[in-house]
Amino acid sequence: MSKLVPVPSRGMVPERDVESPPVLETIHLGVDFGGLVAVDKFNIVIGKTEISGLIGPNGAGKTTVFNLLTNVYKPTRGTVILGDKDISGMSTRQVCRAGMARTFQNIRLFKDMTVAENVMVGLHHDIKYHTPGAVFRLPSFWRGEKYAKNKALEMLSIFNMQDMGDLKAGGLPYGAQRRLEIVRALATKPMILLLDEPAAGMNPSETAELMENIVKIRDTYQIAILLIEHDMKLVMGICEGIAVLNYGRIIAKGTPAEIASNPLVIEAYLGKKEA
């Protein structure tokens, strides 16, 4: 585990990232639904290659935070800064193009497409040919498609799924679907990857493998990862910084060790024994 050091603006990042600006910073992010304050005063800072965790009891608002970051819900207040850009107010699509990709709690794959095609959708903007190229089947089309297919299979090999390229995504087992969603998000070349309960429905050995792979992704692509999880073994195992959410507000922030011994956290989580 790395040491957390303060950065000039505010918040803590891994020591190795202290030279680079934080990849993600939120300032007093919040949203109200009607009269209900769902999320409030959400302030985090994530270092360039930090693996960060967002935990909290069910209903605390974790997925809501993801939706706010990616503008699926429009924030009522607050700012989101990605890299050096203020992305508050950008559409979901623009947020992706700016460098923040995500997976979904309820898995949103393109069920009727093949595994490879799902990843190729993520590679959409990486493929360089236009409509005339497609219609007239110019060399740029063939080059682009070949590149896309190869790149997709290459990325699938992170999870050893390169042989599943032509299988229909909707027919995959649950764990494989989750992994595919991660690869697809990765294909959009993000600076930070938001993973919403990536280990949900996985058995302990799959989870251990996932932990290794997440770290591998971070090391290979040098990106940051923010994950929502209930599996404490995973969170404590690979996260460098953790924020704990309860009733829409952050009640604690720090390293796994600090969080595990925080009385507020223990109180909020009473009974959670996922290990």
């Binding site: 997925t63 939706n67 699926v72 819900y73 979904f104």
Partner: protein, 288 residues
């Protein structure tokens, strides 16, 4: 002024039909394209009973309303129930199919020409100062308003009404509370179709004709009314109905009667662009 009254008269028929659209949409999220054609069936029933069976107008009216109600329930059971779990597009297409089927069956059985419907009631005109208000108009408006009031009481006070409201809020929770989904949906269709039946009789009182395609345009316009008022909302359907009726009447008054249809659809487009949920509609957000 006379046009305004005309507008209120047609508006009340639109409102009755729009209520059926709104109620059905509120409960199973289906735009029942076939609803307008139920009016046509009502009109033919009334004509049939009076002309061929020589019955009195009262009997014909009752028969028409019953026929519409039964037809509505039948369509629901035969075509919409099997598709309850199907994608909405399939339901929509099926509804369109039923609408077409009804129109063409009517054309086959009764011929494409219009059949004159004998006078249902004889109501004297009223004189309000310099304006002569037709008896039909008064009758239509009065009957419609009474129907709507009865409907409101039904929805607010009766057990079935509560069930209808529950199912349209949350289908699963309602079932968990022991509400029979099938019965509630059938009931909704029945009430909606009965209202359409009343509407068809009132329409015939004003325009005493039955033709296969009469339900088509009327249904579409009532549908626009439902959307305008907020589809799924009962008071919305009423407001929408009168609004569309008045809009058409005023368009005619301004000499634009050939553009009447276009005006109605232009209103539809404006509503969908500015506030798709209509004046009183609810917002349904997709869960992410």
């Amino acid at each position: 002024m006379e046009q305004t009254l005309n507008g209120i008269q047609t508006g009340s028929v639109y409102a009755l039909v729009a209520l059926g659209y709104s109620m059905v949409y509120g409960i199973i999220l289906l735009l029942n394209f076939a609803h307008g054609d139920i009016i046509m069936v009502g009109a033919y029933t009334a004509w049939f009973f009076m002309t061929n069976l020589g019955q009195s107008p009262i009997v014909a009216v009752v028969a028409a309303v019953i026929a519409c109600t039964l037809l509505g329930i039948t369509i629901e059971k035969v075509a919409y129930t099997p598709l309850r779990k199907a994608p909405r597009l399939s339901l929509l297409i099926t509804a369109i199919g039923i609408s077409f089927l009804l129109q063409n069956l009517a054309q086959l059985i009764f011929g494409a020409g219009a059949k004159p419907v004998p006078k249902i009631v004889e109501v004297k005109s009223l004189n309000l100062g310099s304006v002569s208000v037709s008896g039909n108009a008064i009758l239509t408006i009065v009957v419609s308003v009474i129907s709507m009031l009865l409907l409101t009481i039904l929805i607010k006070k009766s057990k079935m009404g509560k069930a209808m409201r529950a199912v349209s809020e949350d289908t699963e929770a309602a079932q968990l509370m022991g509400i029979s989904l099938n019965k509630t949906i059938s009931f909704t269709f029945a009430v909606g179709s009965a209202l359409a039946g009343i509407g068809s009789v009132l329409y015939c009182a004003a325009y005493p004709q039955a033709s296969p395609t009469m339900g088509g345009m009327l249904g579409l316009k009532a549908f626009v009314a439902a959307v305008l008022g907020g589809i799924g909302s009962v008071p919305g359907a009423v407001i929408g109905g009168f609004a569309i009726g008045l809009a058409e009447a005023w368009a005619s008054a301004l000499g634009l009667s050939v553009w009447k249809d276009a005006v109605v659809f232009a209103i539809l487009i404006l509503v969908l662009v500015i506030k798709p949920t209509g004046l009183l509609g609810r917002n349904l957000q997709e869960k992410v």
